[in-house]
């Protein structure tokens, strides 16, 4: 068993797939946190998005009323809407009602976890698969050896996720909206004094965060796994929150964290598949350990939003 057997093209492709839901969810959470809202409910929103997207596609496909691409688009839309609504609810609770974000996020998580399973049991019953986003074969590109397998044989949502990384960085760093987000997260009093509505910005980011979390869920249920089951995400939303910290609230670094985490995971799967004799437990541990170690040695240029988790109130 040589390095060639471990670092195969398929491992890199696998890492890219694994990273997709994390990237969606963590980018969304980056927006929310940059504006000062810690949404710990990401996992619950992902589950609702996963179910909503799955169910829409399932309906469209069993009823046969819609052409396949249209059905998938419906799925994405439903996931965005469901996620957006849950993000909006989180915003209402934490911005307008100024609830403690740590707790309300856990409430949102439990709600999403329970409701997605309940609806699944009521409306679907047992696990069923749908025809999700197919892998795209690009002319020429897909056939390039190695690179083709790594980069040019994924489904559409994978590309969307990676495209969102520079886009998010652009929005945060280069637009007036992004400037407002950063200001509101760092010093809401100052933003307020400059006529920026703290509440409106936080509503916007938390809703965006919800939509992306919904999409993260859908990327599992209608693109990567193509079915829904109770607690489908298995806690990925929490890892996504951790990755936001890993990336120091910068989209590119957050995505890099997601890739590192996923790559180690893909690698340990590959090592076990080809029969290396290490205890499974330690292999499964690897991504978590390496993520921490990476952060220990990384030089940190963190931009922790100082107002994170702090509801804003004028001193009145």
């Amino acid at each position: 068993m040589g390095l060639d057997d471990i670092f195969t093209a398929s491992v890199f492709a696998s890492a890219i797939r694994l990273a997709t839901p994390y990237i969606f969810a963590a980018l969304g959470e980056t927006f929310a946190q940059r504006s000062g809202v810690l949404n710990l409910g990401v996992d619950g929103i992902m589950l609702m998005g996963a179910f909503g997207g799955f169910y829409a596609v399932h309906l469209a496909q069993t009823a046969g009323v819609m052409a396949e691409p249209l059905g998938l688009l419906m799925g994405v839309l439903v996931a965005l809407i469901v996620g957006g609504l849950m993000g909006l609810a989180m915003a209402f609770v934490s911005v307008t009602l100024k609830a403690k974000q740590g707790i309300s996020g856990i409430g949102v998580y439990l709600f999403g976890l329970g409701l997605s399973e309940l609806l699944f049991q009521q409306w679907v019953g047992t696990p069923k698969s749908v025809a999700g986003f197919p892998r795209i074969s690009f002319p020429i590109l897909t056939d390039i050896p190695i690179l083709g397998e790594i980069f040019f044989h994924h489904n559409l949502l994978v590309y969307v996720a990676f495209a969102l990384v520079p886009l998010s960085a652009f929005v945060l760093n280069r637009t007036t909206f992004g400037l407002m987000i950063r200001a509101v997260g760092q010093n809401p009093e100052a933003a307020d004094a400059m006529g920026v509505s703290v509440a409106r910005v936080r509503y916007a980011t938390t809703t965006i965060g919800g939509m992306l979390a919904g999409l993260a869920g859908a990327s599992l249920s209608i693109a990567l796994i193509n079915l829904f089951q109770q607690n489908l995400t298995a806690g990925q939303g929490f890892i996504a929150v951790a990755l936001v910290y890993f990336g120091g609230w910068r989209p590119l670094a957050v995505a890099a964290g997601a890739m590192l985490f996923s790559f180690v995971n893909a690698l340990q799967l590959q090592i076990k598949v080809i029969g290396a004799d290490i205890p499974s437990e330690f292999a499964v541990m690897a991504p978590y350990v390496i993520t921490i170690i990476a952060l220990v040695f990384a030089t940190k240029r963190q931009e922790q939003p100082t107002a994170l988790t702090k509801p804003y109130e004028r001193g009145e």
Binding site: L18, I225, K272, V284
Partner: protein, 274 residues
């Protein structure tokens, strides 16, 4: 007491998980069909991953005196059964999968010889594989799951010693994304046949289907989910041992035995998807 035979059961996952919990729920339904609703009724609490939640239910049922049989479906509930059985000697308990009745007269233990169906599946898989590579997605390397996987590996070895069986334990019974990616990794490494056990295999089944690989299942029939990919499923018919336990209790024997599902006693049934 009335003529109705009342059973109460806890199971860790959902009743429609296409796996462990569903197999028990199906069995209770089957017995109810056999005996009729006037003669057999059951309460079922699913989703009690948390042992203490199951403990509360089990204690309440035991203390109520309303049930002829209390079932703890899940080997993690053993300690709870051990304690309750001592405290409520007049109540009959059944639990599994395990052999251990703790030496108590009111405890029945049940288990499945999962290696038998695993072996059958393995033999077929060994014969069917064209690539010579077979992938297994297991949860944690214990009990029922380990039995099945070991049986499967042995079966492949018997029919096709040349074939490679790659086994991955993902260290979770429920992590679907991880199981899914494990299956992808198998496929990437050339597997054309997949198998696995526990409720997270729904992911690998979908992957098998998507990649034109074949799927061998266990615990319950996953034919519908697997669509064309499914080949054979080892189905647990707990009703075989449950009928026996029920009959014993009706005859005044509260327990003390352990039971095993086997292909021979009809507790394990191979179902095929053509």
């Amino acid at each position: 007491q009335d003529d109705v035979f009342r059973v109460a059961a806890v199971a860790p996952s959902a009743t429609n998980d296409l796996a462990f919990s569903q197999s028990m729920h199906d069995a209770l339904m089957a017995i109810q069909m056999q005996m009729g609703e006037d003669a057999f009724q059951f309460d079922f609490q699913d989703g009690t991953f948390i042992v203490d939640d199951a403990a509360v239910a089990l204690r309440e049922w035991a203390a109520s005196g309303d049930y002829d049989l209390v079932i703890a479906h899940g080997s993690q509930f053993g300690s709870v059964v051990e304690e309750l059985a001592a405290e409520f000697p007049e109540v009959s308990f059944a639990w599994g999968t395990d052999f251990n009745t703790f030496g108590m007269d009111n405890v029945s233990a049940y288990t499945a010889a999962a290696d038998q169906g695993g072996f059958v599946n393995g033999v077929m898989a060994g014969l069917m594989t064209e690539s010579g590579v077979i992938g297994v997605v297991g949860p944690i390397e214990v009990g029922d799951a380990k039995l099945y996987v070991d049986g499967f590996v042995a079966g492949v070895g018997a029919s096709n010693p040349e074939a490679t069986v790659n086994v991955v334990y993902i260290q979770s019974f429920s992590d679907v994304p991880q199981a899914t990616e494990a299956a992808e990794t198998h496929i990437a490494n050339g597997a054309d046949i997949l198998t696995g056990t526990a409720q997270m295999v729904v992911g690998p089944i979908a992957i098998a289907n998507e990649n034109g690989a074949r799927w061998f299942g266990t615990q319950a029939s996953q034919a519908e989910l697997a669509q064309g990919a499914g080949v054979a499923f080892q189905v647990y018919k707990w009703d075989v041992v449950l009928s026996e336990i029920v009959a014993n209790i009706q005859a005044g024997d509260l327990g003390g035995q352990s039971y095993e599902l086997t292909l021979a006693n009809g507790g394990l049934v191979m179902e095929f998807d053509a």
